[in-house]
């Protein structure tokens, strides 16, 4: 395998675990907590964010030389906001029920610090193919973390997964799990578990 391909694979794998946006970097917390009450919402949010992340990293890394340093952050935000508008209209047209349940959090992808952070730290310094690999890895990393969190919350909160009833009548749903309080507590416990698995408990919020 050439050095180039190895580089691409390591860029891709970085987001899956090493720098997983949710469990390791602890960024992009607002959608993470807000839309993971059901697995369908979690998956939709993960895919929408991944799409915006991949498209904007490609565009930013293509035009990085044209953007003057002083106005780079506003430029990134405008590029991101354009793709977010696109996703928002797509969801409203084809999946109106998902768009309704995600409501405010689709437009709020604009200010998801995961996306802006990747433009600043990766796409603005690396060529297109590496930015694509990075965005794909980060997107999948974000999506699986959302899915895991929403799986735990939906299973305990409603006894179902993807809307299908898994646990029988004997199970009394813990409503707290689908409410805000349950989101915070579940994520706290999951991060603690990931710290045990990953050993190096060094996560701290890097962007505010």
């Amino acid at each position: 395998m050439s050095v180039n391909a190895k580089q691409l694979i390591s860029d891709f794998k970085n987001g899956l675990w090493q720098e997983n946006p949710i469990f390791r970097l602890v960024i992009g917390m607002c959608p993470t907590l807000a839309v993971t009450n059901t697995m369908v919402n979690g998956l939709a949010m993960g895919l929408a964010t991944s799409f915006v992340l991949i498209s904007s990293e490609i565009v930013v890394s293509l035009i990085k030389k044209l953007i003057p340093g002083d106005v780079r952050i506003p430029s990134y935000i405008l590029i991101i906001a354009t793709f977010v508008t696109f996703v928002d209209y797509f969801l409203k047209a084809f999946y109106p029920s998902i768009a309704a349940s995600l409501s405010l959090f689709v437009p709020l992808i604009v200010v998801n610090c995961l996306i802006l952070g990747r433009q600043e730290t990766f796409a603005s310094q690396n060529p297109v193919h590496r930015s694509f690999a990075d965005a794909l890895g980060m997107g999948i990393g974000f999506t699986w973390a959302l899915l895991l969190l929403s799986a735990v919350r939906e299973l305990f909160g409603m006894g179902s997964m993807f809307g299908l009833q898994i646990l029988g009548d004997w199970y009394r749903p813990m409503v707290i799990m689908v409410l805000p309080a349950g989101a915070f507590i579940t994520l706290g416990i999951l991060i603690a578990i990931m710290n045990v698995i990953g050993k190096n408990a060094t996560n701290d919020t890097t962007c505010h």
Binding site: V26, I27, M29, C30, L33, A34, I73, P74, I77, L78, A81, T82, V84, T85, D88, Y89, L104, P107, L108, V110, V111, N112, C113, L116, I176, L179, P180, A181, G182, A183, F184, I185, L187, G188, I189, I191, A192, I193, N195, V196, A201, N203, D204, T205, C207, H208
Partner: protein
């Protein structure tokens, strides 16, 4: 109900019942990131309240007189984020010129506010809820006070936590999230108190 009573209810409803952080999940990043000390949390809270109040007023004006008047709803996200970014820049320059003391205490927080999703969330909620101009301003102010309340309470708890015996794996982010969960449970007690 008189208009004034309605505004007062809107204010308290936004601070307690629909608290931006603990009920709506907006502004979690600064809530986790800037809540280590009460003093900095207070600074962040005040700077955010200031920007939020102005954002409430500015977005209502832009939305009513430009976006709705010209029928350009698809430019909402792009224009709101530009409004917020320039507002933050303007506030920063204004405070720097007029009050160096205030600038010293709030200055470092201002650039962070642009990417605070509570602000954009506020801007997007205003057209959704159909507030009046004054209603939007009160809504922005209430959201800021609610944000300050939650972040200062959290900072107070975390300062005490420094002396607590927290199990190794829970140190840092996990225990903070669990405390936030318990705070959210406490705020659930306010739900249904005010219905607007």
């Amino acid at each position: 109900m008189s208009e004034f009573t309605q505004l007062v209810l809107l204010f308290f409803g936004t601070v307690f019942v629909n608290n931006f952080i603990l009920v709506r999940f907006l502004g979690i990043c600064p809530f986790l990131g800037v809540s280590k000390q009460v003093e900095t949390a207070m600074g962040m809270g005040l700077a955010t309240t200031f920007v939020m109040t102005l954002t409430g007023a500015a977005t209502w004006l832009i939305n009513t007189y430009i976006l709705e008047a010209l029928n350009l709803p698809f430019l909402q996200y792009v224009s709101f984020i530009i409004v917020i970014a320039s507002l933050v820049q303007f506030v920063e320059m204004f405070i720097k010129k007029t009050s160096p003391v205030l600038y010293k205490s709030l200055g470092i927080f201002l650039p962070l506010i642009t990417t605070n999703c509570a602000i954009l969330g506020l801007a997007l909620l205003i057209p959704l809820n159909g507030y009046s101009f004054i209603g939007s301003t009160v809504f922005g102010f209430g959201a800021g006070i609610g944000f300050t309340l939650a972040i200062v309470l959290m900072a107070g708890l975390r300062e005490k936590l420094e002396f607590g015996d927290v199990p190794g794996v829970l140190k840092g982010v996990p225990v903070t999230l669990i405390i936030a969960g318990i705070m959210a449970m406490a705020f659930m007690g306010f739900s249904g108190l005010i219905t607007i």
